[in-house]
Amino acid sequence: MKRFATLVALVLVMTAQGVSAQTLKAVKDRGMLNCGANGSLAGFGLPDAQGKWAGLDVDFCRAIAAAVLNDANKVKYVPLSAKDRFTALQSGEIDVLARNTTWTSSRDTSLGLNFVGVNYYDGQGFLVRKSLKVNSALELNGASVCVQQGTTTELNLADYFGANKMQLKSVTFATANEALKAYDAGRCDSYTTDASALYAERLRVSNPDDHVILPEIISKEPLGPVVRHGDDQWYDIVKWTLFAMIDAEELNISSKTLDEAMKSPNPEIKRFVGTEGNYGEQLGLTKDWAVRIIKQVGNYGESFERNVGMSSPLKIERGLNKLWTKGGIQYAPPIR
């Protein structure tokens, strides 16, 4: 009889309502945020020799953990390849995907996912050997190109060569590592991915100075964090974590100036740090949610400089990713 009861219970479990919509509660109960990250891309997501993760996307997950769990270190990073990332998010294995993922309409709709915003405006580029004496991507007719599978890169590549009536020989690999290794071994004339990643990957080939990034940017690649459909509260929290980091930079609130900001009479800053209004509670968090993000992780500009900007080995110009007030297009709605 007991065995039968177990069976019935099993049937009930299988037929029960699916993944709970309460991601916030699940994360709090677990005391840990499950973050889908890259795992092998310097500047965006990469564990160092001590196993400590760093990168722009990693900082974003740390910021969510700081806002929700009051501890930026309570993040479990799940390294994902480009082709596995969406399945991991759809199935509930991770709470948020922050893995240099391009926002496209089909991903936003038919995959059952929601993009919360853009934490890096990127575009696709080509890495080639200097010895090829190629100065433009338009000279790549007939070239073989190593590319990572399951990316917008793979599609843009076919589009670009098709639109310019060039012949393409693409060689597709499951991970960026394998694609880069094959390029380095001479299998391909060019390696293509997002320009930001090319800066990082160029440093990993056997002789970086023999390789050059071509000037053409052949696509729009707005990279941003992603959550599942069906949990609006969690969607709001993740979205406003991103906005808070950008707003903080605009308001000149950084991890260094936070103490002054707490005493500031400026109403905008007062709303940000939670001394005025109850914007944190409206999100399902506490008043000082944004303060925790800035104290433990920093604002968007700090994160950018530390991971991909001039104080990192990648030395990428901020370009489009400057704030809108400084000539870029990074812009966040106000907290009020």
Binding site: L7, M14, L111, D159, A182, G230
Partner: protein, 397 residues
């Protein structure tokens, strides 16, 4: 006296639920119902969850434009004009190509190594033994990565291509072979090939009958070669060699024209054949050892030499033991070909459950189709091998 025995009391009627037969049927029914419920529940749950998360489902993606490029296509395919369905067939054919060739090569190498292991030649036997022990005990994925990197590293860059006489070009982008182009007048050659095959079969049947009747043996192999290869070649020469070749030409980046054999394909085929051959060698060895020593001793005492003894006495009997495990090895090879994903060979798993799954996001449908395809391939292989096994089985009289 039987008539004196008291009448046997009729066995008491058993209540139906104590009847073991009824009970066992009832248990089976309950079990089936529970299993069916579980499957239904899981499916229902998956469908509900997909709908709730607004994830697209169904097979509508099949006819949508694929939009990505595939490096090796046996059928016409282009990123702009072809559909996901077409990409599926491209991947499937690539899988079948590497699996089919892999089975042929693995069988040949496996039989040679397996028989060599039993050779009385010390060096040959030990070399075969070393091969089996090394290859069998290393993970296949590791071997594939090794072969791929070995192939890539060993071959020269495209600008230092090795040109082999006969129009073959070799570099780290692959092998480039001349592509034969058929011209008119070739019909005679094909006809003569067909005639040669028919004549060879007829000669084989005649020779066999004669051997059964008189014990005289005819030179079947020599005659067959002459008829199947010699005759068409002769006709080919007579009608003026109506064939041309498109030779591969070096372009700025790549070699254009000719037949292109990708290094990914070579590495995968090589790795799969070498790996599976080690297992087949052991199967062959076991099969041969299963034939009792008395059989070959009897053959020797009848005056047969070691070669014919092996070919006519030992191997036919060993086949009965060899075929069932050999089938498993064929299935393993086919399924292992999905490791292609690690070295960039566009097989079914790489193209379909890799790129197509990711671009459409329809994991459930794509994975289900792929599993079904492998199931069909495996069952078909099993069927063919079982039919062959029935033919080879000992006919009991």
């Amino acid at each position: 006296m039987p008539s004196d025995l008291p009448a046997q009391p009729r066995p008491a009627r058993v209540v139906f639920y104590n009847d073991p037969k009824v009970r066992s049927i009832a248990y089976q029914l309950v079990l089936c119902t529970v299993v069916a419920l579980l499957v239904y529940g899981a499916a229902r749950n998956a469908i509900d969850n997909l709908a709730r998360a607004q994830i697209a489902s169904g097979f509508g993606f099949w006819n949508q434009t694929a939009g990505f490029d595939i490096s090796q296509t046996l059928i016409e395919y282009s990123s702009r004009g072809s559909t996901y369905g077409r990409a599926f067939w491209v991947g499937l054919l690539n899988t079948l190509l590497v699996a089919g060739l892999g089975i042929v090569f693995a069988t040949i190498i496996g039989f040679i190594v397996g028989i060599s292991r039993l050779s009385s030649n010390w060096l040959l036997a030990k070399a075969a033994g070393g091969y089996v022990e090394i290859i069998r005990n290393l993970p296949l994925l590791l071997q594939l990565l090794f072969w791929y990197n070995a192939v890539l590293k060993a071959l020269p860059d495209i600008r230092e291509s090795i040109a082999i006489p006969g129009g073959v070009i070799l570099n780290n982008r692959g092998f480039f072979l001349p592509l034969p182009i058929l011209k008119g007048g070739l019909g005679f050659v094909e006809l003569s090939l067909l005639a040669g095959i028919v004549a060879a079969i007829a000669f084989y049947v005649w020779a066999r009958k004669r051997q059964e009747r008189t014990g005289q043996r005819a030179p079947v192999l020599a005659v067959t070669l002459l008829l199947v290869i010699g005759l068409p070649l002769a006709v080919f020469a007579v009608v003026g060699r109506p064939i041309g070749f498109e030779f591969p030409q070096a372009g700025r980046f790549n070699i254009a024209g000719g037949i292109e054999v990708l290094p990914e394909f070579v590495a995968l085929l090589f790795g799969l054949s070498i790996y599976t051959a080690a297992f087949i060698a052991e199967v062959v060895r076991a099969g041969i050892l299963a034939v009792s020593r008395g059989q070959s001793e009897a053959a020797y005492s009848l005056g047969l030499r070691p070669g014919p003894t092996l070919r006519l006495i030992v191997v036919p009997q060993a086949m009965r033991v060899i075929i069932p495990p050999l089938t498993s090895q064929y299935l393993n090879l086919t399924k292992n070909s999905s490791l292609a994903v690690a070295i960039g060979y566009p097989d079914l798993v790489q193209v379909f459950t890799g790129t197509v799954l990711n671009q459409t996001g329809q994991a459930v449908e794509v994975v289900a189709i792929t599993m079904l395809v492998y199931l069909v391939i495996s069952l078909a292989t099993s069927l063919i091998m079982n039919l062959y096994n029935r033919r080879m089985a000992l006919v009991e009289r």
